[in-house]
Every structure is written in structure tokens, then in C-alpha cells.
Symmetry: C2
Subunit: 122 residues, 2 copies
DNA sequence: AGGAAGGTATGATGCAAGTCGTACCTTCGT
DNA sequence: ACGAAGGTACGACTTGCATCATACCTTCCT
């Protein structure tokens, strides 16, 4: 399985897919964290402290990758994710800023993973 | 049932709700059409030529209203929708432009849902 | 070599989203 | 007064989304 599997090309970026990906609070938080770090920063999926199982993480990062929000690269053991900042800024200017602004504004208390998809565990 | 039912206040606008609303292509199209008209334009739900039943239309416009994207006001017979342009631009700058850009880029052929149901004030 | 760590694949499950049909309510125009 | 037009409310149904558990595969580190 090649490395660049599932990464849409720049001119294949679709607003619908990006908005769908960003509609989920978990994925929005991942994007916000990545956007808040210096450009080119790479982080493994497991480094976000999300209260989810590994398989659910894989699911979310697959959506982030296939929508074009992040690029994933195999670095030995783990699979690093980095924000496709330049592509996104060129294609959807201002969008990342909105996601960042949300977390900065809501980050007064300690929301950790706040979301509108509250759901009781089974 | 009062008129302003279900309209979030300006400082209640949430990015999550807005992105969720815009994740659906139908609703994105409605927003794009409204955004492409002069500010303050009012249109009834039925004037968008969407291939949906009345009840489904009500459903979509309810989401648009409750997320804060449009304001709905009773004008006699019908319920006019207008884009909350200033609020959205102040709160989520650049977001509307992204939605408009999508349709302009894809809309080389025919906008299909452009309809002229401009209304004279009473 | 063998285990731990990081990810993926697949199947199952529960809930939400989008759609429709029907019934019902207003308002407008005859 | 009556019907047509525009919307809403509610129930039913289908599909997709988010989640987990389990099993499996790599790569690193003793």
C-alpha cells in the first residue's frame, strides 16, 4: 500500500468533503491543534489525547485524510499527520482561522472535547 | 408561536452547528443562492426549485434557521428566508465567500436553482 | 527472538440525518 | 365562503455516521 493512498490532489479538494469532515467536533479539534502549531508539524494520531479507541481514531483520521485536511506519512512505526495548511489556505481561504478561533474562544473553561454530538456510552 | 422562534442570537452562533448545516449540499446551495443576491433579499422556501417535497424543505430550512444561517419571517402567506449576512460575516468571516465560490466554480453550465421570486414589500 | 507500541481491517451496533406521505393550519384571491 | 397556495407537525423508513471489540500486521527496542 503506497504512502499517498487516499490523499486528494490539490485541485480535487471539495468544499463539501471538507465541511463534512469539519462538522464533527473531534475532527475539528484535531485540525485546530495542528493549526495551532508551527507549519509542517507532524503528530501521530495517538498524540491528541482523544477519548477514543484506536479503531475510531483510524476512522477519523481516514476522513481527515480523504477530505484533504491532513496528509499522513509513514514514519517508521507510526503514521504522522500534518495539516495541509498551504493547500487549504489557497483553496478555502479563512477556513482554518475559523476552526482555530473556535477553540481559542471556547478554551476559557476546560472543555477538552466539547461537542454537539453528546452521546451516552452504551 | 412567535415569529422569532428558533433563531439563535448573535452570540449564540456556534461554528459546529453552522458547519453541520453547510455540510449538506442542498442547504449549501440555498445559502449560495441567497448570498449571491443583494443583501436583505427575501425568498420563500419554495422559490429555490429544489427537487424535494414540502416537508423536506421545511426540515432543511429549520436547520438553516436554528443554526443561524438564515432568518425567517412571516410575510402574510409565506415565510420568507433571508441570509444573516452581517452576523455571519462578523462571526465567521470568509465563510460565506467559500460557499459562494463553490457554486461559481461549479456553476459553469446552469445555476438551475436560480429563480426570480423577488417580492414587493407590502 | 520476542514482546510492546502504533495502526489498519472488518463486523456489529445504536443513533442521527435525510426523505417522504399524510394530515392539518393559515392566508390570499376569488 | 370556499378553495388554492405555502408551511408546519408528526410518524415511518432508509441510509449513513460514530463507536467499539476483535483480530491482525509492522516496526521498534531490548
Amino acid at each position: 500500500m503506497p504512502d499517498s493512498e487516499g490523499h486528494p490532489d490539490f485541485d480535487e479538494l471539495e468544499l463539501g468533503a471538507v465541511l463534512t469532515a469539519l462538522a464533527d467536533p473531534i475532527r475539528r479539534q484535531v485540525v485546530a491543534v495542528l493549526a495551532g502549531e508551527p507549519d509542517g508539524t507532524e503528530r501521530p494520531c495517538s498524540s491528541f489525547g482523544l477519548p477514543l479507541t484506536k479503531s475510531t481514531l483510524t476512522y477519523h483520521f481516514r476522513l481527515l485524510r480523504e477530505s484533504g485536511l491532513v496528509r499522513q506519512v509513514n514514519r517508521g512505526n507510526s503514521r504522522m499527520a500534518q495539516l495541509r495548511r498551504a493547500d487549504l489556505e489557497a483553496r478555502f481561504p479563512g477556513l482554518l482561522a475559523l476552526v482555530v478561533a473556535e477553540t481559542q474562544q471556547a478554551g476559557k473553561g476546560a472543555p477538552s472535547v466539547a461537542g454537539n454530538t453528546a452521546r451516552a456510552p452504551h
